[in-house]
């Protein structure tokens, strides 16, 4: 064999070629690797990957050095794409937040199905830090009238004080001259809510007064509208008692904290009427 290999290499080469071609014909269209292939690939591929990664780095380096313009164009293209995706993401976040808020309003409207509501997006607010008046989209054309109550999922927002054809202005509970007839949900004692409680210039809550002298008011009691006065329907959530004042204070009986985030109002529900 050694002699043949030395003297007749061409013959051996032709025979080997024929064998290889036969092997090629046998392996055409196969889908599963043979054991030998599997072993060879398993042994070589890690080295192959290392070489590939190194080549990628070297190629990347030379591309950056010799073709900076193409890299710059790619960079500009990707920057634009990123900006477009960021805009979309911001839009998506805003929509998700709006969806969450509207879902809350819908839940509120569903749980008070005896009222007719209109959803009104807040379009403007005055520059007063305590946001005493907001302007919403939706006016007389939509059935909004003065003195209608405005609420959201967190409770009473305020009442309509001015109506245009397509807008309405709402005075919120945070206005010092707003007064609402309320009652303690647990004891049914009635009183009046209105006026701001300020501590060191910071708004803490709203004043609750005119409660009966023997009223059993406790911190955490829920305050709801009493329905007297005709503006706010009975039973709407207003807030919770934050603290009680001294018996002889005389000015007000308790401080009530509303759950409404007046500084970040984006939609309100205006109560257009009641069923029946």
């Amino acid at each position: 064999m050694k002699k043949l290999w030395r003297n007749r290499p061409i013959l051996i080469a032709l025979l080997a070629s024929a064998l290889f071609l036969a092997l090629a014909a046998l392996t055409v269209g196969r889908r599963t690797a043979s054991r030998a292939e599997d072993m060879f690939s398993s042994a070589v591929l890690p080295v192959q990957e290392a070489v590939s990664r190194t080549t990628e780095r070297v190629t990347g380096f030379f591309t950056r050095v010799f073709f900076p313009s193409s890299l710059q164009q790619e960079n500009e293209r990707l920057t634009k794409l990123l900006a477009a995706y960021e805009r979309r993401l911001i839009l998506y976040d805003a929509m998700a937040q709006e969806n969450a808020r509207l879902s809350e309003l819908l839940d509120y409207a569903s749980s008070n199905s005896n009222f007719y509501f209109m959803t009104a997006p807040v379009s403007a607010r005055n520059m007063n830090p305590y946001v005493d008046t907001i302007t919403v989209r939706g006016g007389s054309r939509n059935g909004v009238a003065e003195q209608m109550a405005a609420v959201n999922a967190q409770g009473i927002v305020g009442r309509v004080i001015e109506v245009g054809a397509t807008y309405a202005k709402i005075r919120t509970l945070q206005n010092d001259d707003m007064r609402i007839s309320v009652m303690v949900e647990r004891t049914r004692d009635e009183g009046m809510l209105g006026g701001l409680v300020l501590e060191d210039g910071q708004l803490v809550g709203l004043k609750l007064y005119y409660l009966p002298k023997d009223a059993d008011l406790q911190v955490g009691d829920t305050i709801v509208t009493s329905g007297l006065g005709g503006i706010f329907p009975k039973g709407l959530y207003v807030g919770k008692v934050l603290y009680l004042t001294d018996e002889d204070n005389g000015e007000y009986d308790a401080c009530v904290q509303s759950d409404v985030d007046f500084e970040h109002l984006e939609e309100v529900l205006i109560i257009l009427g009641k069923e029946g």
Binding site: I10, A16, V47
Partner: protein, 165 residues
Amino acid sequence: MALKKYIALTVAFLVAFFLDTAILPQWNLFHMVPFVMLALMLAAEQVFSIQTALVIGALGGLGEDLLCENMIGLTPALCLLSAVAYAKLPKDSDTKPLILGLYCAILALGVEMLRALASYVIGMRFSFWNAALYGALPRALLTGLWALGYMALFRPLLKRQVDAV
């Protein structure tokens, strides 16, 4: 001296293997990459012996097929056939390198066209004209050049070996 030759050939073989299977496919300017293993084999045949070339062609071709081809055996068969063809080409020790490079390029073109034909036979459809002009021809020319480079690299080894003998 023979040991140096084998070491040089082994290193060249491994480099050619990784150039063909990992490096050049990523760095192919205008899809023009030489067939380095074929170039190495033909250069080894020119400088050393046909037996050395056959071993390189068979092992290298088979290794590359096992990693990259779906017809295992095609590349070593084509390499061995081109080694036989190269042995039959008219040449002697005075043949100019340019002619040797041209031989290698012609054989590489033959290998590429046969590979294209084999692909066509198993169902691939493409234009032979495009395959020859934009694929096989530039690859063959580069392979010829590469083979000349290997020959220039190996000649000193052979000279030292002859001197030693």
